[in-house]
Amino acid sequence: MLTQVVPPTGPLLAQMPSGREIHTLKPFQPPLLDATTLEAMRAPPDRSDEAGAYPSSDEETLAHATPVGAYPGTQGDYRTATPSSPNYY
């Protein structure tokens, strides 16, 4: 057995065959309401649609809640520092 010469890569890349598919896409079918659920909705709504009354932001409920026992408006002073922080003292 002889040592084989390593050929240049250019011609190899040029002779690459085409790709081969393995999957066929299953088309998405929009799900439908079942007949009973649809029929039940012929009745008038049993309560008002108040979804829009909730806070619309996903963050605003993250805002600092007032700590228990704090004087109103001073919640900023109660922000907890990380105990391990070197700037704690």
């Binding site: 081969r20 999957h23 649609d49 619309s56």
Partner: protein
């Protein structure tokens, strides 16, 4: 490993404020209720630490699947279509005002969360809801594959590996099907999209991306080499003691062509997303991932052509294929065989960092497997080059003895 998508969040919305339904008066209220569930699960998901987010994906998916029939009923009602032969009559009172936070659009301020976009038609609600579902499917695929990449515990068994890959493939094909549906739906739209996330180009690119990833999984399922390079770094792995990777020749050639198909899909996705499309730019990170995936797939194809040549006794050609693979990956050729100095240190550091990322379960694999493929190719190249060189020195000894 699929892209680490971030799931969007959305504002609350009351269907009754914009729509009324004469035939089914309770439809708007019920749609709002189910939409409220989706909004809550997305909000909860966002607040979880990255390592616990995978566990909340199933509630996101079931929330959206619960909402979709109502959303499509309102949608059908707007065009007076019948469901089960029952005509639904929905009237638009005022244009809806719904907000969604895009996740793959380019951020005007780097590192900062994207501002929310306001959409004013139910059509884009369909787009956002479905693309969120598809992203959740892609993330479920990631979660299924995660155990295969952890190097701090014993490697998963063959059976477990096959099940994980099969589940991930199903999720990715579901995602691809959804994007395919959206892209055919986008053809009928005349308005320009509110943001890049749901632009026709992005939607089509996402379909190609999911298909590319699913195609690569067909190869990953039976590719023994990534496990071999992972063994190096896994103290709990003992399989190398009794098993060397082997692969039938026919399979090597087939795998190469599957990888080429994956790279064609990734190329298409990349060309759709690079540059400016309707709705604005797509985030640089996502575009880079598409480019990396294209490169990784091409390099994998080269490696399998190399394995094919090596099995046929053509070591020289096999080494050339590996070199072509490294070129595809954009890895600089090291001229001297000496792997030392800073380059090696840098690579080891990058590997360690990626291992740690996998550990913590954050955005691991954001390089589309480039690092892993580089490891595999370099391992094979060292091995085959040594074989080729050894043959030569033996031959020279014989030559010397003859004279």
């Amino acid at each position: 490993m699929p892209y680490p998508f971030v799931l969007p969040t959305t504002s609350s919305f009351s269907f009754s404020s914009s729509f009324s339904c004469e035939s089914h008066p309770s439809l708007p209220l019920n749609a709002s209720t189910h939409r409220g569930v989706v909004r809550e699960t997305l909000k909860k998901h966002k607040r979880l630490p990255p390592s616990s987010q995978p566990s909340s994906l199933s509630s996101v998916v079931s929330g959206i699947n619960g909402y979709l029939p109502y959303l499509f009923a309102v949608d059908a009602g707007l065009s007076h279509k019948a469901i089960h032969g029952d005509e639904v009559n929905v009237i638009l009172k005022t244009a809806p005002a719904i907000e969604w936070r895009p996740t793959i659009s380019d951020s005007p301020i780097p590192g900062k969360e994207l501002p929310r976009v306001k959409i004013q038609s139910l059509e884009y609600e369909v787009f956002f809801t479905l693309s969120t579902l598809a992203s959740a499917y892609a993330l479920q695929a990631r979660a299924a594959l995660h155990p295969l990449y952890v190097t701090s515990t014993a490697p998963v068994g063959t059976q477990h590996r096959q099940t994980a890959v099969a589940a991930a493939t199903r999720s990715l094909l579901d995602a691809a099907g959804i994007y395919d549906y959206l892209s055919s739906r986008a053809e009928g739209l005349v308005t320009s999209p509110p943001c890049a996330d749901i632009s026709p180009a992005a939607v089509r690119a996402q379909a190609s991306l999911a298909l590319a990833e699913a195609t690569l999984l067909a190869v990953l399922k039976d590719d023994p080499y990534p496990a071999v390079v992972a063994q190096d770094r896994n103290a709990n792995d003992t399989e190398w003691m009794y098993k060397a990777p082997d692969m039938p020749k026919v399979r090597a050639h087939l795998f190469a062509r599957l990888c080429l198909a994956a790279s064609e899909h990734a190329t298409q996705a990349h060309s759709l997303c690079a540059g400016r499309s309707a709705g604005g730019r797509i985030s640089e990170g996502f575009v880079r991932y598409l480019e990396d995936l294209r490169r990784t797939s091409r390099a994998k194809a080269c490696r399998f052509f190399g394995i094919d040549s090596e099995l046929g006794g053509q070591t020289g050609t096999a080494i050339a294929w590996l070199q072509a693979g490294l070129q595809e990956l954009g890895v600089e050729r090291k001229e001297s065989k000496k792997t030392g100095g800073f380059g090696r240190f840098k690579k080891e550091w990058a590997e360690k960092r990626e291992d740690r990322k996998v550990e913590k379960g954050g955005n691991w694999g954001a390089d589309a497997g480039k690092l892993e493929e580089t490891r595999v190719i370099e391992m094979l190249e060292t091995k085959w080059a040594k074989q080729n060189d050894t043959v030569r020195s033996d031959y020279r000894i014989f030559e010397a003895m003859d004279t």
